[in-house]
Symmetry: C2
Subunit: 722 residues, 2 copies
């Protein structure tokens, strides 16, 4: 089938995965389940999921032999269904999938999910199979999810062609989800259910033959039900598409929260084994996600709790938090966790404190974080509101706070006796009203991470309240949300507009060429003279003034000092003469261009600014302080290129050794702004080499106050195979 | 009342809080609730708690006026109860407490809990009240818990004089709990219930007037029902008693897991506000807890999950983990989290892999961590066991593993239809049997942190299985448990046996005295000569050989280099002469003893070894590398003294800059063992100053290969007020 082996045209493909087309795909009114049988666990799950989602459209089993499946009449093939089918969920064995796709095309079906495994994830043969599957679907104008995927659910559209458990009840809500491991869906949904975190559309992405992560993100950005996007990623296979989608999400004000596997080498191996994806170096992934303002989290629980903060509460305008609790222990835990997240807990304004004190017993203090104590339990309540409620009522008007964390609502396991239930529900109503009218956001939080009871869920739902799952996760999630808010509007990974530089030869560049490249981008270089005789070296040294450095000039030697072909701190002519002989001798058989003489730079701080090429993200800039900082401490900041001066300033701000640049230990403070400009220019120089770039490194990049100079430069390029 | 104001004798007090006496105290057969009334929330909670715990003994309300309370006949005072009372739970207002205690004594009651607040936590007046309360209780031979405390529960003894919610059902189990914030008890119990983590005795410590943290730890160490001890601490008020108890716990093989508040300054302030305790510097607390092999955790959830690992599973002998899961995503998450905990996931032995492969679909790989995939769902099962079970069966015999994490048991929300329930229960029985017979521990884990369903709890309980609450918490908890196992048997904070050194004068010591002190403890010192004339300085320098260092010798100047009273790297006589004049001039009006001349030490690495006195823990040793390592990176390891050579070696191992000592960057590897010995001697020298010690610092302590020398020493002592 030669036609099927031809890659589908880009435009043709793109039309099948637009947000509009996916909105149709993710809301099928009728579903055929091809390959369903009474003995198939997948089919049983899918039927149960449809029920849980409240699917009311036709759900038609299709099976070659069985006349009925789970008591429903079955069609023998998609061609024989006899009514309109919006989506074919294909759970036949691998070898039968293509024929079913033909049937689907014949029946005019526009969407298909393919469950079967054995495609790209098993290697070359599988990849060929997958390419053919894609070509066939595209050729027939069928939007395809999978293969090797469990399907999706759309809680607002009440549909769930999903072949795994959806723990009931399924709550519709603001969190859109896309997962590169479908089996995690049940896990994620079970945590979401426990905390009444509602989802909009949840997708198992499988092998992403046609519908890829970025397409789903684009769809969720357009989807009105979705306020926050929640991803589980094993690999980012198309970083440009992903970056573009992330930028659109940021612009649309829809946060992306991602759990990206592969923080460990073992993690990478695990991801490789079952998706066949190639995961990039984790530190680069980390940098890239930060540049895209995608909030990276470390667990399913943190993923969903962060999404809940962003999806259910008004967004705080700053980091000054008030906290109202009913226990000193809770105050301690909140304060400790907040400190870890860079959240401030300022003192209450005097007026707030005075007001709150009226609701406290004499031995308690009206301070932030606030413990109203359990004192009021000693006597029957006279007011509807607890002291915590009254304190909240006052704290939201405190001019020094950006938001209030409220840990004063405890929900019982079951409906208590009527009088208590009425009191609780009246409190909930008051809280909901007060939270809605408060000048600053209020974030209600449970003390620990346990499931809401059915009654608790009811009370919250009745009043539109949300309760975060515990202090640890909740405050961590608020920290994540604040980071997202801080990062808005500066999503990077833009396409570079740097003009191309000519590339003379592949391999290690000579010193003159390397220096010329950097000079062309405005990177200041230490003066240097190339000589071919001892006398010329002495003469050059005298002109620069002692001390000087002498090193071999040879494109055949990448690491000169390892060979002993560098001599530093030469104080006089004799020293220069000896050094000349030494570096030439050290070069041995290597062809040399001569010997370079340059003035020594002393004092100040040495940095390293290097660009390498990441398999996934392309050119990546690393910036660090020299010496132990890089070698022992790995104190390096990374960014996917291009970066501008502002971004490099943020990189410098991330260095643990930053203080050395700002004047610690008696050094002159470096001109950080100028330095950032120079480093950005180093990045541009690297980008100008386009696909020839292997690496470009300035090491050391010397800074002393406002003086900045590249002391040594190494450029390596490769032959382009075209 | 002069008698009551006298502090009770130590022995008298100690007899009231022995493990045996507390075993009696924590298992009262009859309880009087003094001050209970129908309108008191405390009383309502206490009655409900007793019911939840299954308390079957007499529970007698005592109230001056009410004839009945919650329908029970009430006594007018403890003197009029008319039957034996083991424990008086006193919930009367502050001012009535002492009278009730007299009544209790008259009635021969041996135990009391005091709920009232307003004691030590409110300042001086309260402290006086509390002292009087303690004296009265001790005088009458009454064991007292509180004041400012909510009581306790003992799940095995089915008793719960506890004035806050105990979420039912209360599960009896291996986790003993003591909390310095009683209100956290409900929070903690609600998380414990969610994961079927059973408690033995749980105590709200309150102000610890008589029964202190260490006493409860001692009791739990002796308590046969308790396998692991779980603490929430705001302050460690008696570090010696705590250390002794921690040592006994370690010797008894009972891990202590502690959530200690105060990691943030705000946290410290919060703790101060409501307990009146003084919290030590958090880094010192951290070091002290590590020395005591107390596992410090960051959240309630981690506290309990760590306790569950240690209380419910067999302890692993090492860090090599097998992982069996049903999803690639779970593998990713496990691998990432394990990497963060230093847990290895080695490849399966060939035989294991071959055996496992037979249970996998063709496209899946038999690797560790293992994803058995959901493939078996495609067809009805023929075996009782799932592929995950079969893989577990094989993995436990893998000779290269220390334990297996099993993420293959999913428990449904409710009892499924009979056939499925029987199958699940048969699997659970098989798993329990296999786990019990396996040569290595198996740790079953849920995928995410959600409550067990009632049915799930039943199935687990019926077979004695335990399921950790999610991958993130579970693997973190296993890491904590492994750290505890690693730390066994080296609990420090011993009493020092260092002999006392004579202390001549308070204040900053002169150089000769300082050097003599360190020399007496075997600390090698750089040679140094004190001179009073330029010529003598030059002469001394010539004898040492150039270059030399010259510095002022003056006990009036603690920080010589800040004044410019130090000159380094002097190469010749002229330099020495100039330096002599300079440092004398720099000393200005300060009285001086002369000028010290010493040879320069170059190359090698400079460290700092300093001892300061922590308000809680006493003398604390800080070790770090000099320069940026300490000043910019705060790369310092701390220990409460005394320490031995082995402990200092562990300190050095904690330094991020360790590589500089082991030969990174071309330096000679330092003789770490000798270095550790020298640093331990510095610690001993500090201890020898006893309570006079203010600080003792060797900075720099110079190391080059096997050469080790203290280059500068500063000792400061204070006048003892006695």
């Amino acid at each position: 089938m030669p036609a099927a082996n031809t890659a589908p045209a880009g435009a043709e493909l793109a039309a099948l995965v637009t947000p509009a087309r996916l909105a149709e795909f993710f809301a099928p009114g009728s579903i055929a389940v091809v390959g369903a049988s009474d003995t198939s666990g997948w089919a049983r799950f899918l039927l149960a999921s449809a029920t849980t989602a409240g699917f009311s459209g036709p759900l038609i089993p299709v099976h070659r032999r069985h006349k009925t499946v789970f008591g429903r009449p079955a069609a023998a093939s998609l061609r024989e269904v006899g009514e309109q089918v919006d989506l074919a969920f294909i759970m036949v064995p691998l070898e039968a999938v293509e024929e079913v796709l033909e049937d689907a095309a014949a029946a005019g079906i526009r969407g298909a999910v393919v469950l079967a495994s054995g495609y790209r994830e098993v290697g070359e043969d599988g990849t060929a199979l997958q390419d053919r599957l894609l070509a066939k679907a595209a050729g027939h104008g069928i939007t395809l999810l999978g293969p090797n995927c469990l399907g999706f659910l759309n809680a607002h559209a009440r549909t769930a062609p999903f072949a795994l458990t959806i723990p009931p009840p399924l709550v519709a809500g603001p969190v859109g989800v896309a997962l590169q491991s479908g089996a995690l869906a049940s896990v994620l949904l079970s945590f979401a259910r426990a905390h009444a975190i509602g989802v909009s559309t949840l997708t198992s992405l499988g092998n992403e033959a046609m519908i890829a992560t970025a397409d789903v993100v684009d769809y969720l950005v357009e989807d009105d039900h979705t306020k926050v996007i929640c991803l589980f990623l094993e690999a980012i296979s198309d970083p440009f598409a992903f970056a573009a989608a992330a930028r659109r999400a940021d612009q649309a004000g829809k946060p992306i929260v991602a759990l990206k596997a592969g923080a460990s080498q073992a993690g990478i191996a695990a991801a490789l084994a079952h998706t066949g994806s190639i995961a990039g170096d984790d530190a680069v992934v980390d940098a890239a996600l930060r540049q895209l303002n995608v909030i990276r989290v470390g667990s399913i629980e943190e993923l969903l709790t962060t999404s809940a903060v962003l999806g259910y509460t008004r967004w705080p305008r700053g980091r000054r938090m008030g906290a109202v609790t009913t226990s000193g222990g809770a105050c301690d835990l909140i304060a400790d966790r907040a400190s870890g997240e860079g959240i401030e807990i300022p003192a209450f304004a005097e007026q707030t404190a005075i007001g709150i004190a009226e609701h406290l017993p004499p031995f308690a203090e009206a301070r932030n974080p606030l413990d109203v104590t359990g004192y009021f339990l000693a006597n029957q309540r006279t007011s509807l509101l607890t002291p915590a409620d009254s304190a909240l009522d006052l704290a939201v008007d405190d001019p020094g706070l950006d938001f209030v964390l409220f840990s004063g609502l405890n929900l019982p396991d079951a409906r208590p006796p009527d009088a208590m239930a009425s009191a609780l529900e009246a409190r909930a109503a008051w809280l909901a009203e007060r939270i809605a009218s408060a000048p600053i956001p209020v974030i209600p939080i449970a003390s620990t991470c346990v499931n809401l009871s059915d009654y608790g869920r009811e009370v919250l739902a009745a009043h539109g309240l949300h309760l975060l799952g515990g202090i640890d996760l909740g405050v961590r999630a608020i920290g994540n949300a604040l980071r997202w808010l801080d990062g808005r509007g500066r999503t990077g990974l833009a396409l570079s507009s740097v003009p191309a530089s000519p590339v003379q030869a592949a391999g290690t560049w000579g010193e003159d060429d390397s220096r010329a490249l950097l000079a062309a981008f405005g990177v200041p270089l230490v003066p240097s003279v190339r000589v071919n005789a001892v006398e010329a070296a002495i003469c050059a040294a005298s002109r620069f003034g002692f001390p000087v450095a002498v090193k071999i000039s040879s494109s055949a030697i990448a690491h000169k000092s390892d060979l002993g072909a560098v001599a530093l701190g030469l104080d006089d002519a004799a020293g220069v003469a000896a050094a000349y002989e030494k570096v030439v001798r050290a070069a041995g058989e290597h062809p040399i261009d001569g010997v370079a003489v340059a003035p020594m730079r002393t004092g100040g701080v040495e940095l390293l600014a290097g660009v390498t090429v990441d398999a996934t993200f392309g050119p990546v800039l690393a910036v660090g302080l020299g010496g132990v900082w890089v070698e022992v401490l790995r104190d390096v900041s990374l960014r996917v290129l291009p970066v501008d001066r502002a971004e490099v300033l943020r990189m410098l701000g991330e260095l643990r050794g930053l203080q050395l640049l700002t004047g610690a230990r008696g050094s002159a403070a470096a001109d950080l702004d100028a330095l950032a400009g120079v480093i950005a220019a180093v990045g541009d120089a690297a980008l100008s080499l386009r696909d020839s770039l292997v690496s470009l490194e300035v090491n050391p990049l010397w800074v002393k106050g406002r003086q900045i100079e590249a002391l040594d430069v190494l450029v390596i390029t490769k032959e382009l195979t075209s």
